[in-house]
Symmetry: C2
Subunit: 342 residues, 2 copies
Amino acid sequence: MAPIMNARALFAAIPKDFPIPGETIVYDTSQKIDLETVPLNGGFLIKTLVLSIDPYMRGRMRPAEEKSYSDAFILGAPIDGYGVCVVLRSENPKVAAGKHVYGVLPHQQYTVLPSMEKLTFLENDPKLPWTVFVGVAGMPGKTAFMGWKEFSRAKKGETAFISTGAGPVGSMVIQLAKRDGLKVIASAGSDEKVKFMREIGADVAFNYKTTDTREVLAREGPIDVYWDNVGGKMLDAALEHAAINGRILECGTISGYNTGYEPVMNIHLTWAKSLTISGILVFHLEDKYDKEFYATIPQAIAAGEIKYTEEVSQGLESVGDAILRVQQGKNIAKAVVVVAEQ
Amino acid sequence: MAPIMNARALFAAIPKDFPIPGETIVYDTSQKIDLETVPLNGGFLIKTLVLSIDPYMRGRMRPAEEKSYSDAFILGAPIDGYGVCVVLRSENPKVAAGKHVYGVLPHQQYTVLPSMEKLTFLENDPKLPWTVFVGVAGMPGKTAFMGWKEFSRAKKGETAFISTGAGPVGSMVIQLAKRDGLKVIASAGSDEKVKFMREIGADVAFNYKTTDTREVLAREGPIDVYWDNVGGKMLDAALEHAAINGRILECGTISGYNTGYEPVMNIHLTWAKSLTISGILVFHLEDKYDKEFYATIPQAIAAGEIKYTEEVSQGLESVGDAILRVQQGKNIAKAVVVVAEQ
């Protein structure tokens, strides 16, 4: 069989503020691969099916010398991120062709992987598309599930506030909080997102661009648990309206990824109200909760007990646009790129 | 017996920034009391022996309508704060004359108290002056002991950083951290304080006014536990040099009490490094730890195993000056006012 194209999404330049499709992330078709003869060296060849586009990826578009919790993308190389793939050929007896695998994958059509380290086999459930396994049943869903379990100390009858409540993390948190019997306040940046948050159970849902967050929290609070994906002024408002012994779960700071972090003015309220702020990184919690997550969440999604939305774009050529939309908050649902159907 | 003077320290005006002795806190000698005939109404008459001057008191010098974790001082009335007193007369069978009592007392020489609610009897230890029971064996010592026990999750070999390490809270934390086998970095605002921090065991002690905090932390860190009494830029530096899974104990924000809170820019590092920030209010922890505290700490102080310093001023007329010195950080040790020797 002749070599075929192995399309890629390359990290081509460090963005100044927002990433620019075609400049910072470039679609590349220059590479070819022979699927039958490419050497596996004891590993296995995979075909990428779906790739996840997530807010945290902006943090990886930085100079390699700036250290952070995740590695910087390498200039000139494909970016990488959570995805699902299928095994085409294997020299590893534990990794059979036809198996589906979840984990961090390069943004390219075909890849030879050396081992299953940090990767997970997925069970095929005819009721669940593979895209689900990078969203509500993947890293974002895990972040919500594991962060909530580990840090919320939620009690029935308490009040939770969740920012970016229409996103894949926030929407899962809304549903977990409702399952635990909490009153849920949720914010997002469009009326369409507000409608979705109501549909999945939020008792109070509002558009923070047209409604004053402090007024809502003053009326509906105080807040026992705040799930923060925003930072800055949103975090300050939540601190101001936090209840005594409130818990704040720090999951992300989308307000600051592209234009610099906003100051936070109310940290003194942590001691004035005996608050706890817990930072969440899902890969520090997976060892503890992965088994419980895969044993319960995919089937709850398949049964329709946990709802989700996704915004699917087609092909690696759509990666740059999808990344920008997520950074701008223009996506209306979990952003996923489908690279191949099967 | 004729009525005698009952001197008081009154809250006379809300300070704009730093409190002004004689203006915001006024010494008053207009009141008289007859110790033999003053009606007790089932309560007891006490004589104030020592009063504590603490940083948090600035927060109480605010308009009554501004809510906070502690009540505002009442304009025209004596301020109140932690103190030790002796019972002179009693109509309560459980409160014998001659007993010593610890708790929040009005800043006046004599007071009729209705009950022992929120007050604690103290055992007389000839090796310990009463001043100790408002310092290292009082609220500041309890704050350090209970906050450290509840939130530090300290492990032998870890590194702790303690700001305001020469104060009554910070100096106790230094000693607790050394007892637990940690390397201790400590900061304060004068060379005299730095010397004291070294004497009580700090491995690295520095004057933050003449030494760059970030440089010290870059060299001596990363920081597993940061005890914050300062906030603002000091907290940002600690967040920057925090270790993965670091714990930050928020105890106070002296940088902001008089001139407004400084912005904090690095809160996103909580999720980037899986940090926890725990706010400490001692009166939420006393039920859990009071017994252990009084059973161990006073005797450790008497045995010289826990060291402390204090800066004693005489009489209620010194309260205004003492409060200002503490807010300015000019006190070189725990500030205490002795109202009567016995």
